[in-house]
């Protein structure tokens, strides 16, 4: 409503601007006509100017005289013309002009504005926008807000930490790389952050683990050798370099150390299958065994036993892990403890009895071990 009130006021002001001179009456108008500048006034001023210049010594006598004659000639001619003109008034045309202002002006204004304007829309300045909390905010709007905050406070490591994964999920890999770099710069470095950066770099390169990305993963592994993401991607790097055996080695080691319920196990498993290490890895990977080579016999078997015990304990608590069971069974077989292997097998069957899929998986796995029934 206020808007229309403002429009009305403005229209009235515009109409007034047209009507005002029309309503000032003849006398005032003619007075103003007489007060107007005219040619004669200009020439008279020019004559005065010549006198002043002459007095100031800027022009000499003969020149001043010549100028005076010329101006005088023009002055006479102009005065003759001006006699003829005098103001008139024409009531009919003034009425027409008044009607034009009163009717035509609002018609044009409303007509044009009606076609182009959007009076139903309110203003929406920035200040009001940030005060509107229950507005449905899309993810992108939130991201925009966080980005704005970070443009102002670029050293806010936590902010970058929040933003980076979101950017990566949105597919803005280059921005994600920048964000992760800032996380490292301002939030301090750790293995996970290096791996995240490496992952974003690979994503930005279309899935290729570039040299730059690889160095990030290597840095991550240097900080924490068990960092799973870094190890996975190092394996991937090896695979992409054509070193499939190395890849398989890295991944096997990763699986061996992995907690049974790690969500990324299937991914690593699939990758391993892809590079031809498809058979399920032994409980103790070659690497572990190689590491154990340097130890004396007793130490080695102690180490192996320790690992197997840990696996067994874990499986007792969480029996869903088919891979884990298979590994345990195989480990017992390798150590020559057939009884224990059979017992583990029974336990495994019990643990996964309720799940047909897992049971089948377990049976499949067992077939390769030559352990009957």
């Amino acid at each position: 409503m206020t808007l229309w009130f403002v429009f009305a006021l403005m229209t009235v002001a515009a109409i007034f601007a047209v009507l005002w001179p029309l309503g000032r009456g003849n006398r005032a108008a003619n007075q103003s006509l007489e007060g107007q500048g005219s040619e004669t006034v200009v020439y008279k001023d020019q004559l005065a100017e010549v006198e002043r210049d002459l007095a100031a010594g800027l022009i000499a006598g003969p020149e001043a005289e010549a100028a005076r004659i010329e101006i005088g000639r023009r002055l006479l001619a102009a005065a003759g013309v001006e006699q003829a003109s005098a103001g008139q008034s024409n009531v009919k045309w003034r009425r027409v002009a008044a009607v034009l202002a009163l009717v035509g002006l609002p018609l044009v204004a409303i007509g044009v504005y009606g076609r182009l304007g959007s009076p139903q829309l309110h203003d929406f300045p920035l200040a009001e926008r940030s005060r509107a909390p229950n507005m449905a905010q899309s993810l992108e709007n939130l991201v925009t807000q966080v980005e704005q905050h970070l443009e102002k406070n670029p050293t806010d490591g936590r902010g970058w930490n929040v933003l980076a994964p979101v950017l990566e999920r949105l597919g803005r890999y280059d921005d994600a790389v920048r964000a992760y770099r800032n996380v490292l710069t301002y939030g301090g470095e750790n293995a996970e952050r290096h791996s995240d950066l490496g992952e974003a770099l690979s994503a930005a390169a279309g899935g290729v683990v570039t040299a730059e990305a690889k160095s990030e993963f290597e840095r991550a592994v240097a900080l924490n050798a068990d960092e799973p993401k870094a190890n996975y991607f190092l394996g991937l790097a090896a695979e992409q370099d054509g070193r499939k055996d190395d890849a398989a080695k890295i991944w096997r080691a990763l699986l061996a150390k992995a907690p049974a319920d790690a969500p990324w196990r299937p991914l690593v498993q699939t990758s391993l299958t892809r590079v031809g290490g498809g058979t399920v890895a032994p409980a103790l990977s070659d690497e572990t065994l190689a590491a154990a080579k340097d130890m004396n016999e007793g130490d080695r078997s102690a180490m192996v036993r320790g690992m197997v015990e840990r696996l067994a304990t874990r499986l007792k608590q969480n029996g869903d892990d088919v891979e884990g069971w298979l590994r345990l069974v195989r480990a017992y077989l390798v150590m020559g403890e057939r009884d224990k292997a059979k017992a583990a097998l029974t336990d495994a069957r019990q643990a996964v009895a309720n799940d047909a899929d897992r049971l089948r998986q377990l049976n499949e796995g067992l077939k390769t071990m030559g352990l009957d029934g």
Binding site: I59, G87, L121
Partner: protein, 660 residues
């Protein structure tokens, strides 16, 4: 409410302009004072409403109201305040609104200060202004409306073109528009004179100061634009004969001619018909410039957005106004009373010569600008007419003009003495020859034309100084008297000398920059050293920095000369996230009028960076010249006296100084 009120105010301005373009003419026909006075109040009301509309748009930009499409497309909430304001005219719609605001401002000024104009002349002038204004209001409302809304406003804007995020945008367009649109006043006066069928002395009294004001702004606007291009675009060029630059140069050349012929008209009541034609041509060229830039016919930094409907609309405006005014001229010019007579060798004659050269130069620029366009339309062939064409045509035209410049002010009105003038220029001529010899002896390399060109420039400067010396009578009368006389000289005389000297100063800058410019272009790694013109620049390193709405990479150069550390230069490359584009920020080191210029290219894979380093001797003179010219214009404008050109009597009884 602000957005819609601004929109409505613009519509009201259109309605008022329509009334203003009809009613005063009827009043003038009937000789009715009240009807003629409608022009005055409507012009003021128009100024009020357009001003309100423009203020509304500025407010919307400052408040980052993205429900307005124009703000959304050209602003960003993170942009610094100054660029939020300048961004208003950093886009097509807003710049057109600025255009009409300035038009309304000039209309308002005529209405406000036009009391000493004959009433019917004022009515005619304001009516013609209203025609132009109506056409452009319609153009804005129909094809380039800055107040269109977005129903579901986005949260963030798309930001202003990064190249425009510079202080230059605050100065260059408003200056240029004040110049372009200022010429609309002399156009309106010319059309009014043709419609009334008479030109009187009041006409001339009015036209010259308005033309001068428009010319001052246009001069500064062009110079500012050139300097901006020089430091922002990153390759150190200051004039490219780009069609858009030509579009501003043409009204300047025609306007300069108009300025001089209006002078003759004001002082001597001669050259009336020619002055009217020049007024029409100058504004027509301004309109042509607007068309070339705004229609999207040309692609350049200035073409913010191209849209065929806009082009057709402006072309229509162009045809109606240029065609209409020239037809009116053809029909009515013969009925105008011819003015005073003068001998070929006289101040008037010199000014006619100036007009001939300037208009011819303007015509060559016009041909060079429009020929490629016409060829492309007709045959589809794309050619570019560049610097060689203009150097070959424009240059030779300016040489005789510059030689003639010092003679003009020394000649007397009506009938002059060329030998006398030449005698008084002997000192200047000798000075120029000395400079010629010195330049030839001292410099090596470069074009053989450089030394004569510099000598010519020195001749122009010394010539304008000798004009002042002559008038003050220095060396002829005692020193104290001469000083008193120099102070007593009309400010317009000082203005003339300054403006003419500015021409010479700019020429020296142009010649030195193009002839002895030295450069280093290559890639540098940290700790590399580049040597240019005696300076040694060592790249200290590259840094990243976060700006308000951009990130920038800064290179730090330690500059030394003969082993002494001079300064540190930090050129940078800024990348703007929202638009996904980047700008180069050149670093400038000024010593005297010369500059060292460093701008950055791309970073190579090995961590080296491409660098362009230029040493430009006396480059700043290129812009000091126009500033001097503008200063001369201001001095001349501040001279509130009437102008009377006292003619030299036919039989001189004694030898006299030329009079002001």
């Amino acid at each position: 409410m602000i957005a819609e009120s601004g929109h409505y105010a613009l519509v009201l301005a259109l309605a008022l302009a329509l009334i203003q373009s009809i009613v005063p003419l009827i009043g003038a026909r009937l000789n009715d004072a009240a009807l003629m006075n409608v022009a005055r109040s409507t012009a003021l009301a128009q100024l009020l409403f357009v001003g309100a509309s423009f203020t509304a748009l500025v407010t919307l930009h400052v408040a980052s109201d993205f429900s307005v499409a124009n703000v959304y497309e050209n602003s960003h909430s993170m942009k610094p305040l100054i660029y939020k304001i300048t961004g208003v005219w950093g886009n097509h719609e807003g710049s057109m609104l600025l255009w009409v605001s300035i038009l309304a401002l000039f209309g308002g000024l005529v209405a406000l200060f036009g009391n000493n104009l004959p009433l019917s002349l004022r009515a005619h002038v304001l009516a013609v202004q209203a025609w132009v204004a109506s056409a452009f209001y319609l153009f804005i409302l129909v094809t380039s409306n800055p107040f269109l809304r977005i129903a579901n406003p986005p949260l963030e804007g798309r930001d202003l073109n990064p190249v425009l995020q510079d202080i230059g945008l605050a100065v260059h367009p408003p200056m240029l528009y004040l110049g372009y649109v200022g010429f609309s006043i002399s156009f309106s006066f010319a059309i009014a004179a043709l419609m009334e069928g008479r030109i009187d002395a009041a006409w001339a009294r009015w036209v010259r100061p308005w033309t001068l004001m428009a010319w001052i702004f246009l001069t500064l606007g062009i110079a500012m634009g050139s300097y901006w291009a020089y430091y922002e675009l990153g390759w150190g060029g200051w004039w490219f004969w780009d069609p858009v630059e030509n579009a501003s140069l043409m009204p300047w050349l025609a306007g300069t001619a108009l300025l001089h012929s209006a002078l003759v008209m004001e002082k001597r009541n001669a050259l009336k018909v020619w002055t009217i034609l020049l007024s029409i041509l100058t504004f027509s060229l301004s309109l042509l410039g607007t068309f070339l830039v705004r229609s999207g016919v040309l692609t350049s930094v200035h073409a913010f957005a191209s849209d065929p409907t806009r082009g057709v609309f402006i072309l229509l405006i162009l045809c109606v106004f240029i065609g209409g005014s020239l037809s009116l001229y053809a029909a009515r010019a013969s009925s105008l009373k011819q003015g005073g007579l003068f001998a070929p060798i006289s101040r008037e004659g010199a000014l006619v010569l100036n007009n001939l050269f300037l208009t011819t130069a303007c015509a060559t620029v016009l041909v060079g600008t429009l020929y490629p366009l016409a060829l492309e339309v007709l045959t589809g062939e794309k050619i570019s007419v560049g610097a060689p064409f203009f150097n070959l045509t424009f240059g030779p035209l300016f040489v005789p003009l510059l030689i003639a410049v010092p003679f003009g002010p020394l000649l007397a009105w009506k009938r002059g003495d060329i030998l006398g003038a030449a005698q008084r220029l002997i000192a200047a001529g000798i000075g120029a020859l000395l400079v010629l010899a010195l330049v030839w002896a001292w410099t090596r390399g470069g074009s053989a034309l450089a030394a004569p060109a510099i000598a010519l420039a020195v001749f122009v400067i010394l010539g304008s100084v000798s004009d002042l010396v002559e008038r003050a009578g220095l060396f002829r009368v005692p020193f104290g008297t001469a000083m008193r006389r120099a102070r007593g000289l009309p400010r317009s005389a000082w203005g003339t000398s300054l403006a003419h000297a500015g021409l010479g100063v700019a020429l020296i800058g142009i010649v030195c920059e193009t002839t002895w410019n030295s450069e280093y272009i290559g890639t540098m790694k940290p700790d590399d050293v580049a040597k240019v013109a005696g300076y040694e620049l060592k790249l200290d390193g590259l840094f990243q920095r976060q700006g308000p709405n951009f990130r920038e990479m800064i290179a730090e150069f330690a500059v030394s000369r003969d082993g002494d550390k001079v300064s540190v230069m930090t050129p940078s490359k800024r990348s703007f996230t929202t638009r996904g584009s980047s700008t180069t920020e050149a670093a400038l080191l000024t010593s005297g009028a010369s500059q060292l210029y460093v701008s950055l290219g791309d970073v190579t894979a090995e961590g080296a960076i491409a660098v362009r380093i230029y040493h430009k001797p006396l480059v700043l003179l290129i812009w000091w010249g126009p500033v001097l010219m503008a200063l001369g214009g201001v001095l001349s404008l501040s001279d509130r006296r009437l102008r009377v050109g006292a003619p030299k009597p036919a039989r001189a009884q004694q030898r006299l100084q030329p009079a002001e």
